[in-house]
Symmetry: C2
Subunit: 186 residues, 2 copies
């Protein structure tokens, strides 16, 4: 469990930085929007990422706390805080998924080299991180065999057709074939 916690910590710290970079890209676009529709569109995406940033500000220290935990039996469904951690991680799996799509949508519109390079880089990292988080949570849920029912399980089944534009599809298909090994994550 320690290895997974370390991987979660790295992934969510990385994505926190990426959100901030993405918000910096969006800010001038919102300010210079040509009409209300365009302004609402980018502002809406900005706000969803801002909501995610606030949740990560709570989640990252919680991961960190469990990473330092010495008692192996803390990682148990009888520990309410551990259950909370799993629920939050599951929610942020979808947060990562939605972030990939926000980046994909931005890539359709910010086609200049500077922004598209930056967005593509974040997109590929986030897509890989999403896959890793998904795989790790599947393993953890199976391992603990607790009573936690993934409220998104049905939803997630429909998720492998995430359609990335352009170059990203290569990263996607190679990632898809790679099996999950804890060692490969850190």
């Amino acid at each position: 469990m320690k290895d997974e916690l370390h991987a979660f910590y790295q992934i969510f710290t990385t994505t926190k930085d990426a959100i901030e970079k993405f918000m910096n890209i969006l800010e001038p676009v919102i300010q210079n929007a040509k009409d209300d529709h365009e302004r609402l569109y980018y502002h809406h995406i900005y706000e969803e990422e801002e909501q995610r940033l606030s949740r990560l500000a709570e989640l990252i220290p919680l991961i960190s706390k469990f990473e330092k935990e010495k008692e192996e039996n803390s990682f148990s469904p009888t520990n309410n805080e551990f259950n909370r951690l799993l629920q939050e991680l599951n929610l942020e799996k979808f947060g990562l998924h939605n972030f990939v799509e926000h980046l994909d949508l931005a890539l359709f519109q910010f086609t200049d080299e500077e922004r598209s390079t930056q967005l593509n880089q974040m997109r590929n990292v986030s897509y890989q991180d999403y896959q890793q988080v998904k795989n790790m949570l599947n393993e953890i849920n199976a391992k603990f065999d607790h009573n936690y029912v993934d409220p998104h399980a049905h939803h997630d089944e429909h998720h492998d057709h995430l359609a990335p534009p352009g170059s990203s599809s290569i990263a996607k298909s190679s990632q898809k074939k790679k099996g999950f090994t804890v060692g490969s994550l850190i």
Copy 2:
């Protein structure tokens, strides 16, 4: 607390139906999208609402369970399940907020009478419901004075400039002036 739980139950049952109606509007739009960008755009919104629907399928029975609770001391921060309920409600406050914006974005594009009438009706109900949920959670958090820190509190401060297009601004400003009274909610 019983009155608020009843109001939450009504609001989230209503919004669950509204999500399904909205997804029905989006489905043919996704199928008939003119290009990949348009398809991803609507598919992304569809998926975010689908995620919310999955969460509500867990939350509504939890509200219902607490609504039937006879012990008044169940509504306490020492009850882990009650804390979980408050956290989920706080998350769905943002779910409702984002839904209002999804509807606003759709209103810019689906301008035919049939869809715009339906979307406007959902938009106004959802906006009022968002305000009620926000007010009720503020009251509850103050009342219980528990250690729960709203991870979105900072974010929410920036939220009163939600900019509705057209007719909806009337509902917004009247709603804003109306104070919170439990009696008015049910």
